[in-house]
């Protein structure tokens, strides 16, 4: 009976071995985990140190760059003034100026305007006036721009003057020419005035409109 109720040694030994094995695995796992933790911790510390070194280097690089830029501060500031003022110059010329001459030249080229004679006497103009006066037949054919107003929004009034029917017809043809009409976004005929005197016949044509904005030399350079 005693023997039957006695200790089963072989079973106990196998239990011991099992538990011993389990704890052996636990020990190995703990060692592996410890190694991993050491590695991870080491990596974190290494990264931090590396970042500190990188930060120091990059800060130095920035400071060197700043110093080299600041070496010529006066020269650079002068260049900046030039850049800023040229930008303003273009802006003022594009927005605040009528650019009269540009529009006048276009009209003059297309209408074959008679150039005004110089009323203030100087040598050249006197000679020119004399030459013009001698060729009266030529004058008679010409078209004169009596008045031209122009504002910065390109609104304009044009008064052409012709001296006979022939030049009047010529002017009408020129005004109806697409090249001339293309200069304007809007153009209206405001009136025709016939002023017949004893010897001369003056025919005035009044136009009112808005020029298409011409690209000036300063725009092109932007």
């Amino acid at each position: 009976m005693k023997f039957r109720k006695g200790i089963n040694f072989s079973r106990r030994i196998s239990d011991f071995e099992k538990k011993e094995k389990i704890f052996s695995y636990i020990r190995k796992t703990v060692i592996i985990i410890t190694l991993l933790i050491v590695l991870i911790t080491g990596k974190i510390i290494y990264d931090n140190i590396k970042l500190s070194i990188d930060l120091k280097k990059i800060t130095q690089q920035r400071n060197d760059l700043l110093e080299s830029i600041s070496q010529n501060t006066a020269r650079n500031q002068k260049l900046a003034v030039i850049a800023k003022k040229i930008k303003l110059l273009k802006e003022y010329l594009n927005n605040n100026d009528v650019n009269f001459n540009q529009y006048y030249s276009k009209v003059s080229d297309l209408i074959n305007l008679e150039q005004p004679s110089d009323l203030i006497s100087d040598e050249n103009s006197a000679t020119e006036s004399a030459e013009i006066a001698t060729d009266s037949a030529d004058i008679a054919k010409k078209i004169e721009l009596k008045t031209m107003t122009l504002s910065t929004d390109q609104k304009t009034t044009l008064v052409f003057n012709t001296f006979n029917q022939e030049s009047y017809k010529e002017l009408l043809e020129l005004i109806e020419n697409p090249d001339f009409l293309d200069l304007f976004s809007k153009l209206e005929l405001k009136g025709i005035i016939l002023d017949q005197q004893e010897q001369n016949t003056n025919l005035e044509i009044n136009l009112e409109g808005v020029f298409n904005k011409l690209t000036n030399d300063y725009d092109k350079k932007e």
């Binding site: 911790t41 303003l88 721009l145």
Partner: protein, 230 residues
């Protein structure tokens, strides 16, 4: 059964005790990992952020430096351009200079000035308007309209023109400009630099002005130090 359990528990406890050092080691390591991670995490993130910020600054400064280096222009040329542009658009108005500029423009285009009317200066727009009345022949007036922008040595614009082929009396509004760039150029890293086209334009304008740059700014208009000396 109870005896068996007791026996097993005792043995297990004995094994745990025997391996306690490993469990402590594991706990300590986990604690170290957590504290190191927490301690360095914010530091690493902050450093990464700083590096990113400084790198972007370096890229920006590098571009500025490259642009400055690419400005292949001598200091003398820079000084000359600087004087020229400051003559066209000065930092502030000088009434004597302005009147001298009008006189010069009038002289060059045979415009006989009869009167000036100076309107109150528009500081906000950096503009000074002066109405001039005078006599000019139509051909001289056209010449005036061709040259007024720069020939006086100052930038001048006109906002409205009435050209009359018969009239000799003319009244016209001239606008002069001044601009102080002092405030714009405080930060040397954010400065704008002129392009080659800008410099070419300035050279072209300067070639239209028959004014000696050496005479500019302070000596733009004739002065006499002693009024009793001829």
């Amino acid at each position: 059964m109870t005896k068996k359990n007791n026996f097993l528990d005792k043995y297990t406890i004995a094994l745990i005790k025997e391996n306690l050092i490993y469990f402590i080691l594991l706990a300590v390591n986990i604690a170290i990992l957590i504290s190191v991670s927490l301690y360095f995490r914010s530091s690493i993130l902050e450093k990464k952020e700083n590096i990113k910020k400084i790198q972007s600054e370096i890229d920006k400064y590098d571009r500025v430096k490259k642009r400055i280096d690419s400005m292949n222009i001598s200091t003398e040329a820079v000084d000359k351009f600087y004087q020229q542009i400051n003559m066209l658009i000065p930092n502030k108005y000088n009434m004597f200079e302005t009147i001298a500029a009008i006189e010069r423009l009038a002289r060059e285009s045979n415009f006989a000035t009869l009167s000036y009317t100076v309107k109150p200066e528009n500081r906000e727009l950096n503009q000074l308007e002066i109405t001039i009345a005078g006599t000019s022949s139509p051909i001289n007036f056209l010449k005036f309209l061709e040259n007024y922008n720069f020939s006086s040595g100052k930038l001048i614009t006109i906002n409205e023109v009435t050209y009359n082929n018969n009239a000799t009396e003319v009244e016209i509004n001239l606008t002069f400009y001044a601009y102080d760039t002092k405030e714009d150029n405080k930060d040397v890293l954010n400065i704008e630099l002129p392009t080659q086209d800008d410099l070419n334009l300035l050279s072209e304008i300067s070639s239209k002005i028959n004014l000696d740059i050496a005479e500019s700014s302070d000596n733009f208009y004739p002065i006499k130090e002693n009024p009793f000396v001829k």
